[in-house]
């Protein structure tokens, strides 16, 4: 049984006025990081949008992404569940377990073939199919099988988007991202460890509203949320520009809200919406609470040279290197130096005395 009512109809059936609908659209547009002038377009689109079926697959994950989803205040998870989508498979939230759960997934796939949305959190291990299984099925098989009939895939979290922590060196399980396996479907990468709650719901809302993939950057992330660096929008940016940096976590600079660059903040190279939308209903974000940005929405951020090392600092261990290099240079230099010296000595030995006759003859 498929719900064919549009979001507009669902809302009006709940007795929500057009004013309420417009407000809903305004909040939705804001949350999707769209300019207010787009509100009429959002309203138009939402009037026609239908509740899509969503299948959420959890692979090598920590459930942090799902937890983040539950923190979204706009739209709320309950709003999403009741009004906007049909979340037909989701380990952490669904009631059914075991074979009943698997049947729900298969049912949703059949019922909505070609139109359902697959959300993936967690990476997929390729090292051995036994590294991660659900119902005895390896992750890679389940992903391929589920993705086959999907309209699009949303890779939620850095693990699904870029491999994340399992992919970090030495990647013991051979973990890869969704995009490494699925090549023939549109994939939206919603990175972050976890992603900002309203960014997850914002991307889902965008897909629901417009029925298509939003504009993406070269890493497959929606530019509406990942278009600018944290540093670009950081309220501490003026301190960076003035060269005022906190030196430690509770010095005067830290208490004054000075820039955390020296404490290793990766804001300048991290594309995410933390500085604008902030976390948990706009309460704060890591930098506002005194800890530098990890760069968690960026690929390979776990191996990007240390969370407490300033961005400009080298990550190379150079102590021994310098010694070894100096020794190597000295050895090579000594060798060639000796050659040079004997080259010169030979030339001096072969020197024929210049006589006045030589001069007169020339």
């Amino acid at each position: 049984m498929k719900d064919t009512r549009t979001v507009g109809e669902i809302l009006s059936s709940q007795g929500i006025s057009r004013r309420g609908f417009l407000k809903f659209c305004a909040a939705t547009a804001s949350m999707m990081a769209m300019p207010p002038s787009m509100v009429p377009a959002v309203a138009q689109a939402l009037s026609n949008a239908r509740r899509p079926s969503v299948i959420w697959l959890s692979f090598q994950e920590c459930t942090g992404c799902t937890e983040s989803l539950t923190r979204s205040h706009s739209p709320t998870l309950e709003g999403l569940l009741f009004d906007s989508i049909s979340l037909d498979y989701h380990h952490t939230l669904q009631v059914a377990a075991g074979s009943a759960a698997e049947e729900a997934r298969e049912h949703a796939m059949q019922e909505n073939d070609g139109s359902y949305l697959v959300v993936v959190d967690g990476s997929i291990p390729l090292g051995n199919p036994g590294y991660s299984t659900i119902a005895g099925i390896s992750n890679v098989d389940m992903l391929k099988e589920t993705a086959a009939g999907a309209a699009a895939i949303v890779a939620v979290g850095t693990c699904a988007a870029f491999g994340g922590i399992p992919h970090a060196n030495p990647n013991p399980t051979g973990a890869v991202a969704v995009s490494d396996i699925i090549k023939d479907k549109p994939i939206i990468n919603v990175s972050g460890c976890p992603p900002i709650p309203i960014v997850i719901t914002g991307v889902l809302a965008h897909y629901l509203t417009f029925g298509k993939v939003p504009e993406l950057d070269d890493l497959g992330r929606p530019t509406a949320f990942f278009g600018q660096t944290i540093h670009d929008r950081c309220y501490r940016r003026p301190f960076y520009d003035k060269g005022l940096f906190a030196e430690t976590f509770d010095d005067e600079g830290a208490q004054q809200g000075w820039c955390l660059y020296k404490l290793g903040c990766k804001g300048p190279v991290t594309y995410n919406a933390c500085a604008v939308s902030k976390w948990n209903s706009g309460t704060s974000f890591p930098i506002q609470s005194g800890h530098g940005c990890f760069g968690c929405s960026e690929p390979d951020f776990w191996d990007s040279g240390g969370f407490y090392r300033p961005l400009s600092a080298t990550t190379a261990d150079v102590g021994t290197l310098a010694g070894v290099a100096a020794l190597a240079g000295a050895a090579a230099g000594a060798a060639i130096g000796r050659m040079n010296r004997s080259h010169r000595a030979r030339a001096q030995a072969r020197h024929e005395k210049l006589t006045i006759d030589d001069i007169e003859e020339s």
């Binding site: 080259h343 010169r344 030339a347 005395k353 210049l354 006045i356 001069i359 020339s362």
Partner: protein
């Protein structure tokens, strides 16, 4: 490759040392040395840029002493030095460089370019590339004993004249004298007044000195042409004579390169330290002054300036003595704008004056000195190098300034003002008196 070219290159290989390698490594092609070279400043031709004059030797260094150069040479990527290049470079190295050392003073990375040119000439001459005039002068030096062909009789004639003039004996080959005085051929031939002058001064200061018949010539064409082998022969003569006469000091006369050749290069050329000391005439005079043994009378009434001979001052290290001495006799002594170790060369040092081919450019380069003198209002231009003196006189004449400015040797000027003591008072004979 011709054997001579090969010989030249081998000479460079033998001559290049750690400082030269360091200098070539450091050069940043800033071209500031050009501004220090009067041949550039007066012609504006970039080829006179000092560091450029070393290009062939630089390539030899690169190809023989650097890793990449050796590799490139082995792989055939490097451009070998050719006869044509040496031919092209010969005038740059000999005609338009007086080894004055001014470029070495301005190089921001500290390159002693003059030191390099000196070595550059070693290879050039070994390869057979040296100007005819300089070759001839060298030939005369070796074969006759003096670049100008001055032989002992000519000196003896001048000694006679001096003795007649001063009434004093000019000691020759006096064994056991403290000082062996050398002369340059220009002094013997053109500025023989100097003989009288030193005779009188030494007499007055009671200096025990002598001339040597076997080694009266101080100049060293071998060094100018750039051959250490020949330069060594010439130095050896002086060393032999000084040893034979058992002198304690050898006095280098008012001649620039002679001082460098004998004082600084000499021991290295002959391969051992001297058993005597080399002292420049100005140093000696200044010592005498300091000791009160040199007293002067009266002052020059005209404005006087001093032309620092490059090899004596900048590259010889004798900066204060001429000034001390000048101040004894000149009330209106003024310095040129750039003086002392930053003075401009007369244009004829380093063998350029012996090289007729260089005459036009040398004369052009004299403009630098002319500009220096302009507006100074000096009547006397004192110097302490007979070659400078020659060049200055000629240059002033070329520029029709000889009427206004007289060129004078410093020792000579001192002699003119020498305060003669009353011999009767002391009752002693002079050191030059025959025993």
């Amino acid at each position: 490759m011709s054997t001579s070219l090969e010989r030249g290159i081998r000479t460079w290989v033998a001559q290049i040392d750690a400082p030269i390698a360091s200098f070539f490594t450091s050069c940043v092609h800033c071209g500031i040395c050009a501004d220090a070279c009067l041949f550039f400043t007066e012609t504006g031709d970039p080829k006179y840029t000092p560091i450029h004059k070393l290009e062939p030797m630089r390539r030899v260094w690169q190809q023989e002493y650097t890793f990449w150069g050796r590799l490139a040479k082995r792989l055939g990527f490097s451009k070998p030095v050719t006869e044509d290049e040496l031919k092209e470079w010969e005038p740059l190295v000999y005609d338009s460089c007086t080894l004055c050392g001014r470029c070495s003073m301005v190089c921001p990375v500290g390159n002693d370019i003059t030191y390099m040119i000196r070595k550059m000439r070693e290879g050039m001459v070994a390869a057979g590339y040296a100007p005819e005039g300089l070759k001839a002068a060298t030939s005369r030096s070796i074969r006759i004993g003096s670049p100008m062909g001055v032989r002992l009789p000519a000196l003896q004639a001048q000694i006679k004249a001096a003795e007649a003039e001063t009434g004093l004996t000019v000691p020759l080959d006096q064994e056991g004298a403290d000082y062996l005085m050398l002369l340059s051929s220009a002094e013997i031939m053109q500025f023989s007044e100097i003989i009288s002058a030193v005779t009188r001064i030494f007499d007055e200061a009671k200096v025990s000195w002598t001339l040597a018949s076997k080694a009266f010539e101080a100049t060293n064409s071998g060094m100018q042409i750039g051959s250490s082998d020949l330069a060594a022969q010439l130095v050896q003569r002086i060393v032999d004579a000084a040893e034979a006469l058992k002198v304690k000091y050898v006095i280098s006369p008012e001649c620039g390169h002679a001082y460098t050749a004998l004082r600084w290069e000499g021991p290295n050329l002959v391969g051992r330290a001297y058993p005597f000391k080399v002292i420049h005439i100005l140093e000696l005079l200044d010592e005498l002054r300091a000791e009160g043994r040199l007293k002067t009378d009266g002052f020059e009434d005209q404005r006087v300036t001093f032309h620092d001979p490059c090899q004596i001052v900048r590259r010889g290290g004798i900066v204060e003595p001429p000034r001390n001495l000048l101040n004894m006799v000149a009330k209106d002594f003024v310095e040129m704008e750039e003086h002392g170790i930053m003075n401009w060369c007369c244009g004829g040092g380093g063998g350029v004056s012996a090289n007729e081919r260089a005459d036009p450019i040398r004369r052009k380069a004299f403009d630098r000195k002319k500009h220096q003198l302009e507006g100074m209002g000096v009547a006397k231009l004192v110097t302490a190098c007979s070659n400078c003196r020659n060049m200055l006189e000629e240059g002033l004449e070329d520029n029709h300034l000889d009427e206004d400015i007289e060129v004078v040797g410093l020792a000579e000027m001192l002699a003119e003002h020498l305060a003669v003591s009353n011999r009767a008072d002391t009752g002693e004979s002079t050191s030059t008196a025959k025993e």
